[in-house]
């Protein structure tokens, strides 16, 4: 998580007055906001890793908002996107939502509607960020395991019994148990189910 307390909203709209009005509104309602006049301008700016979302106009000079959405997906920029359009046609809204847009709003948009959409988008951003954070922490712990402990871990979460692991790895059952205890301690898990959580999947537990 960033140190900033206020979420940062990226506004991509070619209409100067619309863009400035949105910035003004968002700043007034407790957000930080940056405006971009085109998709190109947005892409040229390096994005700070901050909690926030993108308010994106569909009709833009040059590449459209939908094309920017596709480009961001390819680049793994996962900021949630709210589309804001002068005139919403079904095909582009479907396309936008399929590609993961949070919402598809039509201008002029009422403040409540916009703020609700922003809330959803920011919640989504938080959830995404939490997921990413958990995965990162898990990985940190996994990185503490020795190769032998790693091998035992993989087999435990794939549901193998100690005997099977011993056979598989060509080591004694006692050695397997020692590695397993060590691994469990490093990962802070007491049951195989907890291991599954760390691995991101559920594990059939058959023994203690």
């Amino acid at each position: 998580m960033s140190t900033h307390t206020r979420p940062l909203i990226h506004i991509v709209d070619d209409d100067d007055s619309m863009r400035m009005a949105l910035i003004e509104l968002l700043k007034t309602t407790g957000f930080d906001a940056i405006g971009y006049g085109s998709t190109g301008e947005f892409l040229l700016n390096s994005l700070p890793d901050r909690h926030g979302c993108i308010l994106l106009d569909i009709q833009l000079p040059g590449p459209s908002g939908l094309e920017l959405q596709a480009a961001l997906l390819r680049k793994d920029v996962a900021l949630p996107i709210i589309f804001l359009t002068g005139h919403a046609d079904v095909s582009s809204s479907v396309r936008a939502m399929k590609a993961g847009a949070i919402d598809f709003l039509e201008k002029p948009v009422a403040r409540e509607t916009l703020l609700e959409a922003l809330e959803r988008a920011l919640a989504s951003d938080i959830a995404r960020r939490n997921t990413v954070e958990a995965a990162r922490r898990r990985q940190e712990r996994l990185d503490l395991l020795t190769p032998r402990e790693q091998a035992v871990f993989e087999r435990v979460i794939s549901g193998m019994l100690n005997k099977q692991i011993a056979m598989d790895l060509g080591i004694s059952l006692r050695t397997v148990k020692a590695h397993r205890a060590q691994m469990m301690q490093k990962l802070g898990a007491s049951t195989p189910a907890e291991l599954g959580l760390i691995a991101g999947k559920s594990v059939e537990s058959d023994e203690g």
Partner: protein, 630 residues
């Protein structure tokens, strides 16, 4: 019929023998007799005075009618005029004689008809040298004249005439019943000695009327006496040759002086004095004289043995001058119906019945034609107005279609400022709800709201201007400015379609005289066409170039795209109504563009671009006045 081919002066072969062609070698005499039987007779009529005198025309008419009615063979009648009294004297007569000799050298005459005393005197003097042996018929020669001459040759015949002095006096006294005084005026010369001749004749009819003879007075004395006459007087006169002073007068001259001086009506029994101011008199009918002469000539030409037998002398007829009838207040009812009335302004209907009928018919026809043409013009005008209305309607419909095509872009154009307004209002609300002193922020927001509102209304205004159905209004325009407006109008649509546009205006104003909306419409149509042509074009070709050029007297706009262009065969049909290469096109855009451009006195044409695509050129006449002013 006796015809002698002897000629005075140079003796020529008769032209008649040449006319006979093949028979020219035959013996001359025989030929002549044959000719006389088979050929037309030729007659020369010699008048003493002017060609235009009514008397001559009347005589000629009677003569020709009679001859043509009675002759089996066609008769040629030549007419000559001695033009007395304007011309006269020995030298003149000699000139005339020479002229007639030369003129008729090749026209052997069968007879000569002379009219009047002077002509008779002339012919008797020159006959042997002019027309030797040709019989002479005279007409209108006075008995008195004949009596004063030596006996005429047997082949000079005619009916002498007698002037009706007594009849004239009788008529005058009838019209002026209160007259008790008859004044008779004669000249002083030998030719003027009529008194002894007419006195017995007149005395016989005078009754209670007293006769006063003014013979041989000087003109001043005569005129003085005539001025003194009262309303009980009537004057009778005769052409005077010489007065008491020995002054000579031309035929009508003395009568004019007499009539001018006289305070009483003047009469004369001779028609040549008509028009000099005399009331009139019983004169000889020249038509009748002509008929008699015609009868004599007919007999002569057909060699009737009794051709020298003369008919009775013609009776006199009453002839009056209408103006004098009016002047002396003679009751027109009292003019006998057989009188010849001269100088009466003819009643239109009487004189020109056929002409009037014809004129009326023509006027009616022309009026009808004009009415029809006017009606036709009205119809055409109505049709033109209807057509103009239709054009306006069509142009309007086309603009509506354009607007329809641009709906998305226009909606966007209006929506943007509306969205901004909404957002700014929201912001202001938030600020106000939060409380605290943020006046400056609020003012800024209100300012922005106002600007965006203005922006939206301008879009609507532009749209309304384009869509308004208004009458064409010519005003000076700068093509550069029109182009800039059009570009602003189309910009959203261009953006929507991802097409770039490049404008190349000229530095100086390109002034034309035109209707702004219509000229805008032309440019919009052309640019929209270009945009439509670019629908499937790759990105690097999605551009339109609009260029303005100024040449002498002409400003032109060209719209160039690199789209799909058009086929050669379509070039001639491009500007036709309802022709479209687009699937959804109405085929009106270019047709209307051309209608507008032509109405502005310009031209529009299309060509294929050098690297594909199309170029449209619009040329409009420069607005000179402002160019000069600039």
């Amino acid at each position: 019929m006796p015809r002698l081919s002897l000629r005075w002066g140079n003796c020529r072969r008769s032209s008649r023998s040449t006319r006979r062609g093949a028979s020219r070698w035959a013996p001359a005499l025989l030929l002549m007799h044959l000719a006389a039987a088979a050929e037309a007779g030729q007659v020369l009529v010699l008048y003493p005075n002017s060609r235009l005198l009514i008397s001559n025309v009347a005589l000629d008419s009677g003569l020709r009618q009679t001859i043509h009615a009675n002759s089996r063979e066609p008769v040629r009648v030549f007419s000559e005029f001695l033009d007395e009294p304007e011309f006269g004297g020995d030298q003149y007569e000699l000139t005339m004689a020479t002229y007639l000799r030369d003129k008729y050298a090749d026209r052997p005459l069968d007879a000569v008809l002379i009219v009047g005393d002077t002509a008779l005197r002339f012919i008797l003097r020159y006959r042997d040298r002019l027309f030797p042996g040709v019989p002479v018929v005279h007409a209108g020669v006075t008995r008195e004249m004949l009596q004063s001459m030596p006996t005429l040759a047997p082949d000079v015949v005619g009916v002498p005439v007698t002037y009706d002095f007594a009849g004239t006096v009788k008529q005058a006294l009838k019209w002026h019943p209160r007259a008790t005084h008859l004044v008779i005026v004669f000249g002083a010369s030998r030719q003027d000695d009529w008194e002894s001749l007419v006195r017995p004749e007149i005395d016989a009819i005078l009754g209670h009327v007293r006769a006063e003879y003014l013979v041989g007075l000087t003109m001043p004395a005569l005129q003085k006496r005539l001025r003194e006459l009262g309303s009980d007087s009537v004057v009778l006169t005769w052409p005077m040759f010489r007065d008491g002073d020995g002054r000579s007068y031309m035929l009508t001259e003395s009568a004019a002086l007499v009539a001018a001086a006289s305070s009483a009506p003047v009469y004369a029994p001779v028609d040549t004095l008509m028009g000099t101011g005399v009331v009139g008199g019983r004169v000889l009918s020249y038509e009748q004289i002509g008929r008699q002469a015609g009868q004599i000539l007919t007999r002569l030409l057909s060699r009737q043995p009794d051709w020298q037998r003369m008919p009775q002398a013609p009776a006199s007829v009453l002839q009056v001058d209408w103006r004098q009838i009016k002047r002396w207040e003679i009751d027109p009812e009292q003019i006998p119906s057989d009188a010849i009335v001269s100088f009466r302004p003819p009643a239109l209907w009487q004189a020109y019945r056929n002409a009037v009928l014809g004129a009326v018919t023509i006027i009616v026809l022309l009026s009808t034609l004009i009415a029809l043409l006017l009606l036709e013009r009205l119809r055409r005008r109505t049709a033109e107005i209807a057509m103009q209305k239709q054009h306006t309607a069509l142009a309007h419909a086309s603009r509506l279609a354009v607007a329809g095509e641009l709906t998305a872009a226009i909606a966007h154009e209006i929506n943007q400022p509306l969205g901004a307004v909404q957002t700014n209002a929201d912001t202001a609300e938030v600020i106000l709800q939060a409380g605290g002193d943020r006046r400056e922020d609020l003012l800024r927001l209100v300012g922005r709201i106002r600007n965006d509102n203005l922006r939206a209304s301008q879009v609507i205004k532009r749209l309304r201007a384009l869509l308004a159905r208004q009458e064409a209004r010519r005003q000076p325009l700068d093509l550069n400015a029109v182009l800039t407006d059009v570009e602003a109008f189309l910009r959203p649509e261009l953006q929507r379609r991802d097409i770039s546009i490049a404008l190349k205006p000229v530095k100086t104003p390109a002034r034309i005289l035109g209707d702004e909306t219509q000229i805008q419409q032309v440019l919009i149509n052309l640019i929209l066409n270009a945009m439509d042509a670019l629908v499937e074009a790759p990105l690097d070709r999605r551009s339109i170039l609009v260029q303005i050029d100024c040449a002498a007297g002409t400003h032109s706009v060209s719209v160039k795209d690199q789209g799909r262009g058009f086929a050669d065969g379509d070039l001639s049909k491009l500007f036709d109504s309802f022709f479209s290469t687009k699937r959804t096109g109405m085929g009106l855009g270019l047709s209307i563009a051309r209608t507008i451009v032509v109405a502005h006195g310009g031209t529009i044409r299309a060509e294929r671009g050098p690297s594909g695509g199309a170029i449209f050129h619009v040329e409009l006449p420069a607005h000179e006045a402002s160019e000069n002013a600039a």
